[in-house]
Structure formats: structure tokens, C-alpha cells
Symmetry: C2
Subunit: 357 residues, 2 copies
Amino acid sequence: MQRAEPQEFRTVLSSMCTEPHPAAREAAERFLATNPGDPATYRSVAELEAQTVAALGDLVGLADPRGYVASGGTEANIQAVRAARNRGDAAAPNVVAPESVHFSFHKAAELLGVELRLAPVDDEHRADPAAMRNLADEDTVLVAGVAGTTEYGRVDPIPEIAALGAEVDALVHVDAAWGGFVLPFTDHEWNFEHAAIDTMTVDPHKLGRAAIPAGGFLARERATLDALAVETPYLESPEQATLTGTRSGAGVASAAAVLDELWPGGYREQYERLQELAGWLAAALDARGFEVVSPELPLVAARLPESLFEALRERGWRISRTAAGELRIVCMPHVTRESLAGFLADLDDLRGASEQT
Amino acid sequence: MQRAEPQEFRTVLSSMCTEPHPAAREAAERFLATNPGDPATYRSVAELEAQTVAALGDLVGLADPRGYVASGGTEANIQAVRAARNRGDAAAPNVVAPESVHFSFHKAAELLGVELRLAPVDDEHRADPAAMRNLADEDTVLVAGVAGTTEYGRVDPIPEIAALGAEVDALVHVDAAWGGFVLPFTDHEWNFEHAAIDTMTVDPHKLGRAAIPAGGFLARERATLDALAVETPYLESPEQATLTGTRSGAGVASAAAVLDELWPGGYREQYERLQELAGWLAAALDARGFEVVSPELPLVAARLPESLFEALRERGWRISRTAAGELRIVCMPHVTRESLAGFLADLDDLRGASEQT
């Protein structure tokens, strides 16, 4: 078999994953053969998971967090919907969310037999609490907002969404899978201290620079975790609240290590660099006459002709589109001014060529 | 933070996880920063996943397999139940399985709103197709058997279970999460060639010696995968059939590497060594007067007094119990005659001490 090589990160501009921090990589390699899903056998990695949950609590303003290191944001979002379904007593439960929620909510709804009611967003791509209010009723078990949307990096008005949850007696979930590691350094109101939210998704393996798989599911109350637990015969721990069984100790150990290394100062520096980079890229695209969605967080969307987008992909740039068709560039830690300059040079080259034909 | 260290495998006797093969570890470390959940961006690891699925097809007698590398056996079992629920048209769907199924079936049933009907097993801890037949009806969407049970390593009569599936017009699933990498070297009838089964769980990260997370979900028909797919806006691939979103490229690459290295000769040698080891341990426990469940596959269960079990755990042995209370030792690749001799020496020492008091 010819030896396969991983992709180069230099050309990856659309992923919400990145190169792990060196401390994360070292810990992942060292704990590769551990399973936090069996905490009585793999004790030291189970302790690292408890440390990670505590550190994530600090990140999101929750003093006594319940939760665990999930396989990723999809699992954490599924678990939020599942906990709300199980804690609620609706015969035909529904979840109300902005249409900007990650597609894992569609997956969760299909999986769990819950109706997903999506409200239109406002002109700035943010959740509109009034539109969400119109969809909520006595069978609403969860209202959700996003703190750092996948397509535009927008932060929904979380306090208003939490107020809606209180009004209709539903749990409140915030998906900060991507945004959670930059939002602490902004003025946004998005976390457990800012609003009466019940659960949160916050992924170390995105902007937290842990190794995949290291997502995060956090809950304010123990009852939320209890609503997810199943019994575990033949394991020497009595029950399991996770969606998966065997789990990656590499992900857990890497998250513990990188949080210890970077929180908070290192993450602040990272945020400042990436936000500046996004602003620079947005200005560069704007100067070239493209319509740009201004970057609230380090994510830039801009409207490019389809043919130009395709030509850039053919040159090897790993870029993707929003549902509305805009180019979408995520300024992750591996993205540099240099790589973006190379991208812009190709873009200019292709435009010049197209103008000459 | 004091540097944490992973557990030593020398004392781990109850886990179905193990140390990855060196080829698996090398590949996992090299592909740590890849995400097969985004195949258009992370192309080389997506190709490794296709190779892995093809190799697993070879292992389980399926020429044109559909499927993917899952987070583990729990995900694969959930997906089997989900696909059956979605492909069936029962208003109140149920799944019929022996009571020996892994607890992930309970998780799947709770998650998916499906009734789990468990049939008693026979005196040898194997599924009883007649008892299963009594539980099946027109709302049965799936019948399941286990090829290598978690507690006793038993192989259910898969052809008879498949016949029941055909009779009641239900899909047929085989959970070979643990057994799949030893069964090819036995006379058991358990795979896609032996019976009309629809889906299978077979985990490279157990006896396949891949790195966690590398489970396997395989299906005979494309329609089964289609029944799991959701649309994926903003990814440059149209849909996603996996339960999770971002996935571990380390697990995928490690599975591809170790299958290339060990299938079939290396796995055959491993099976022969582990089966011989299990027989030796069973004889040693029997000679000491304990009631032993004979090892059909490399897993030994034996009835020990509760106090002796607890004392062995206190000496650092990572052992676990069946639901019926028997000691359960899984002869995984990291388990050696030497480590088991150490365990028996501690056992003899503790019995001697207890007889003196």
C-alpha cells in the first residue's frame, strides 16, 4: 500500500478543525490507549476528564459544571435535545431555534423524534427572539441559540433567548461549539453567568486547539445528566450519560493539557491575532469589490462568482460555501496572513485571467 | 499541574480495548489533525476510510460493503436500530434481541423511541431463536444477534436469527464489535456470507488493534446508509450518514494501517495465541475449584467469592463482573501468560491469607 499523507493545512480555509497545540498533541499521543468511557479501569484519564470539565466551566462562567468531553459538537447538541426531551413531559415535543443552527439539530430531531421549529434570522444573520416566540408553545422542551454560527460567526441574543425559555418553561441551550474559545475575550453576553441557560456545547477540538475528538457538553444541573444516564452492567461504574461508549482518551488528555497551557492568556492572544486577521481579509475582499459579511468573530463570508469559487478550489484551496452561496473562510489557528495572501494572489490571478478572455 | 500518566496495561484484564499495534499508533499520530467528517477538505483520510471499509468487508464476507468508521460499537449499534426504524413503517417499532446484547441497545432504544424486547438466553448464554420468535410481531423492525457477547464471549446462532428476520420482515443486525477480528479463524457462522444479515458492528479498536476511536458500521445495501443521511449545508459534500459530525482521522488511519498489516495472517496468529491463553486461564481457575464458563472465544468468566474479587481489585487488578456477578477476564492482545500468572499468584496468596484467618 502506498503511504498516504494527510492534507496540508496551508490550503485549508473552511474547516473548523485545526492543528492541535503541541501540548495537546503530546498528551494525545501519550494517552492514545485509554478509554474514559470505562473510568474504573482507566482512572487517570477519567481524572483528566474531570479537570477538563472544571476548566471548561471556568471558560463559560459555570462554577460547578456537570458534563463530559463528547465526541464533538454534534454529540453535545444531540444530548442537549435528548435531555430536554427526557426532562420535559410533552407528548409531541418540539425545539425552537433560529434557522442558523448547525445541521446537527436536524440530525438530533430526526434521531430523537422531536420536531425542530426554525425561526427566520434577522438581516444580520442573528436569531430573532420575537420570531422564535411565535413558534414556541406548551410542547416546546428546548429553545436554542448559537454563540458563533457556523456560516457567519454570529452571536445570537442569548439573554433574550433565555428569557423566552423561562417564559415557555423550556430548557435553554447555547451552541458555542466554535465560538466558546474566543467569546470570553469579547463583550458578548453568551454564557452561564450572562443568562439562565441550562446546557452548552463548547468544543476544545475547534478553537481550543485540542486533538479530535474533544467536544464539550456542559449542564448547569445534575438532573440534566441524570436524564441521559443508562445502566452499565459489567463496567465497574454504575451508569453512563454519554452518547458513545468507548471514548477517546487522546481527545480528553489533549483538552486537559491545552486548557492548562493556554487558558486564559494564550487563548486571548490567539483571539486577538485571529480577529485582526479576519478584519484584514474582510477589508481585502471588500477592496476588491466583493460583498462581505463583516466578521463579528474570526470568520469571513463574501459573495464571489460561482466560477471564481470553483477555480479557486481547482487550485487546491479548501474552501466552502454558505447555504446562500457565499465563500466562507474560517480564521482558525493554522491560518496566517501569509496563507491568506497566497489565496488572494490566486484570486487576483484568476480574475485577471477571466477579464482577459 | 502534576503530569498525569496513563494506566499500565499489565493489570488491565477486563477491558475490550487494548494497546494499538505499532502500525496503528504511527498512523494515528500522523493523521491526528484530520477530519473524515469533512471528506472534501480532508481527502486523503477520506480515502483511507474507503480502504478501511473495503478491508472490513473482506473480513466479514461482504463484497461491496457500505458503511463507515464509527466512533465505536455503541454508535454502530445505534445506527443499526435507527436505520431499521427509518426503513420500517411501524407506528410503534420494536427490536427483538437476546438479553445478552450490549447495553448500547438500551441506549439506542431510549434515544430512538423504539421498544427493546429482550428474549432469555439458553443455558450456554446464547440467544434462543424460539424465545426471540415469541417476542416478534408485525412492528418488529430489527432482530439482532451477537457474535461474541460482552459478558461471556458467546456466538449466537446467526443463521437462525436471520431466518427469523426474513420470516417477520425485519432487518437483521449482528453485533460483532468485539468478536469480528477473531471469528474469521473459527468455524462459527456469523457473517454476511453465512446468513442474510443486513448490518453489522465490527470494531477495529477492539481486537483489531486500531487506536480509539475506530468502530465499524457495515451495511449490505445502500438504502440502509441512505436512511441515515442528513443534508450538510456549508460542507462541500452533500450529506452525512454518521451519528457524529467531526470525526477522528487518527482512528480511521490507524484502522487502515493495521488492517493492511495484520489481515489475515497476523490476526490469525493473534487469535491462536489469545484462544490458547484463555483455555489455559480457564483450566487454571477450574483447577482451583472455581466454576468456569468455558471460553468459546478469548474471554473467561468464573464465579469467585465477592470478598476475593474485591481484594484482587484492591491489589490493583482492573477486573470486572458480569451482571450475574462472575469475574470476567478478556484476553486482549496486551494480556500475557506472565500477567495472568501474576494475577493467579495474587489470587492464591489472598485465598491462603483468608484460610488462615
